[in-house]
Symmetry: C2
Subunit: 442 residues, 2 copies
């Protein structure tokens, strides 16, 4: 491989052996969760019925998770990772040429993963921990999903480890995005539209508003109630949890090796943020570098209609609608926030994971918002130049990179812009069609 190649690969033997546990090294504290109601911290016993124990330990920064920067990747996980990882890092030469920018632009391809996004990286681990648990016999993982990237990843993860999977899918997506629902079903999952008649939360919301189209907060409450009914069920979380961030650090660790291989240091790293897991996992090892003195800038992109980091409050809030989850300190639009009907896929969540919120609060990460139209236009430019169809979520990161490249000028040192392409958009073509007006007769 030479630096003239577009694609920078790592061999499977270069797959990271450990995840990077950023909270153990940050120079500031990432506050732990508080009990949902009582005025105290959360103990493992409070939620051992809800989360797989190992996930709970990570979430509460227990033992090694509070102190060790490196957490070994279990051999089973490493074996499955090796089926699709390390993922390629690609130099966007065609996009650079189109923009006429002096900057180099690279993107990390998480769109090639099973189920088509970064989500499988953590879904697999959560399902594996649940299947391995000796504490109790877990047979089912439950979760909520919006556009379905997360639900599809969890369905495939559960099938990989031999668990059942139950997904509460936001009703609007359930009806309008049947393809991701088919994919989940094909991988053996049960899929319910949320709000549903299966839970108190769902029934209560539907009683007040029979046409309620759902939210991630409501879906999570439903999944939690569903778990509570049977000791063999546990909850999986796509992006709000710290364990998802920890697992997604594999993205950043690979990216770091790939850039080293071609002798590059990033000047700017960009990602889209829903709950914050792909972005935070992507930048975490580079935050370490920045703390060590390297001048790297980090930029988290959100839709302007869901500006959690840019305009939300930094305070304790619940992750779900019904106040069943621990309270966490984060930027939030409020746990009963109902997002506007925009096509931003998984970026419609009211809060951002505490570690990312803390990075923003401490001015390590800055933020930018974009409108739906300009994001989808950027997706079209990316398809035209790089031949890759980005998910609407990821198109936010694409636009972030385009924007940064346009601002770049010829300086002494070539700007190196690196972004995470978190997922593909094949199952989001209806959204592209709506925004770009593709469904005309011609």
């Amino acid at each position: 491989m030479t630096t003239n190649d577009n694609k920078i690969f790592l061999s499977e033997s270069q797959l990271p052996r450990s995840w990077y546990n950023i909270v153990a090294e940050l120079p500031f504290d990432v506050p732990k969760p508080l009990h949902p109601i009582e005025d105290r911290g959360v103990e493992v016993d409070d939620f051992d019925w809800l989360w797989p124990l190992e996930c709970l330990r990570i979430e509460l920064h227990e033992g090694k998770y509070g102190t060790d920067p490196w957490i070994e990747i279990p051999p089973f996980i490493a074996d499955v990772y090796r089926r699709y990882r390390p993922s390629p890092l690609v130099r966007a030469r065609a996009l650079e040429k189109y923009l006429g920018t002096p900057a180099e632009i690279y993107y990390k391809r998480e769109d090639l993963n099973p189920a088509g996004s970064h989500k499988f990286n953590t879904a697999l681990v959560q399902a594996y921990y649940a299947a391995q648990e000796e504490h109790s016999r877990i047979h089912t993982m439950a979760t909520d999903t919006g556009a379905g990237q997360w639900g599809a990843a969890l369905a495939m993860a559960c099938e990989t480890v031999g668990l059942n999977c139950c997904v509460f899918m936001i009703r609007k997506s359930f009806e309008e995005k049947p393809y991701r629902r088919y994919l989940m079903r094909m991988a053996g999952a049960e899929v319910y539209p949320s709000p549903s008649e299966l839970t108190d939360t769902g029934r209560s919301v539907l009683k007040d508003d029979p046409d309620n189209s759902g939210s991630l907060g409501i879906g999570m409450s439903e999944a939690i109630e569903f778990v509570k009914e049977d000791p063999g069920r546990r909850l999986a979380l796509g992006c709000m949890s710290y364990y998802a961030v920890l697992h997604q650090s594999v993205i950043g660790l690979e990216t770091r090796q790939q850039l080293e291989q071609i002798d590059r240091t990033p000047s700017l790293m960009i990602g889209c943020v829903g709950g914050g897991s792909n972005f935070t996992g992507f930048v975490a090892p580079f935050v370490r570098d920045r703390i060590g003195g390297k001048p790297i800038e980090f930029r988290a992109i959100e839709p302007d209609s869901i500006p959690t980091l840019s305009q939300g409050e930094y305070r304790y809030d619940w992750a779900d609608f019904s106040e069943l989850t621990p309270r966490i300190l984060m930027y939030t639009l409020g746990h009963r926030f109902v997002p506007p009907p925009v096509h931003s896929g998984g970026l419609r969540y009211h809060g951002k994971t505490p570690v990312l919120s803390a990075l923003v609060k401490n001015n390590v990460v800055n933020t930018r918002t974009y409108s739906q139209q300009e994001v989808f236009d950027a997706g079209r430019v990316f398809l035209k130049t790089e031949g890759v169809l980005a998910a609407p979520e990821s198109a936010h990161a694409v636009l972030g990179a385009i924007d940064a490249a346009r601002e770049a000028s010829n300086t002494e040192k070539t700007p190196v812009i690196v972004f995470c392409l978190s997922g593909h958009g094949y199952l989001d073509l209806k959204g592209y069609s709506d925004v770009l007006d593709l469904d005309t007769s011609n």
Copy 2:
């Protein structure tokens, strides 16, 4: 890289510099096309209004195309290939384990290409030849498409070289598969449902049968008529042409290098056949090895409801419905064949490209047919084990490999089964849903 890796990569410098022109080396003749009506061979002048000149020269085995086994890949094409090629060859360890087979199974991933299938490999070249032509000023490429893999690839290819693109999409797919239509539109193409009111063929078919759902033969006739109206238009062909076969030899050439890199010789190579281009390009360099003495078996898979190679006649026939194309010697079900309403994507065509037909006729390639249900079940097994969603077309090849692996026994030498995963199935989930009954409430 070691032989323990699942994924066998080539660097961009290992991208083949030439396509392999199999007709120049076959020990038997592949007869050239005949005039559509007159009792004579086709001359370049007969069809220089229809095809880009260079494509026509390839099709007629003119000059170097009749004599040289190696045709240099133009630098522009090599540059674009390098954005996504060489594609990975992957050892299907999880599938092998699931099957408990002693065989090694490998698959060549053409599903990661722009537009999601092998089709872009030739679409790009056809559009490039048209854009480069000095003979006349070509501004538009027209074509027909079934499920839309080909149309999407051509749309993206035309955008890459700066031409317009016009696609006649089988009406049934136009209505039932809107996502591929959106993708074509997103890449700037015009898309018409075929039969359409734009052409004599379309109008005549609709007059007799207003609900006609279309066929590839009708679509091709419409595209040809459309081209005839304007000297700046040319026809692109996805799989029936020899030039498509020539360009797809890049698949086989890479696969051969990848297998050499891990010191393997295939015992059996498998692919699905629609027109035959991905299969023939995939096996072509290995046919050379077999002629040189290596005992390699080749197996072309078709749907049992469209058994062209297995049950068709070997005779001269037209490629299109209206008898506008040259007559070619091939296995055919008749150019007015209307395929049954099965979900086999691009495998619904009445004929198979002459070079593949000749390989079958001369017992170099054998064939097998499978039912729709077992093919989709195989697709589900592949998703479950390898985490990859195969196109319905490609699921035929998956089943071919599963079948062969099940038949494999422990012999002195480990059987090495290699198949071409020609495309992904994200835009075919409706078909999976129909056949696997995924659209129930749960």
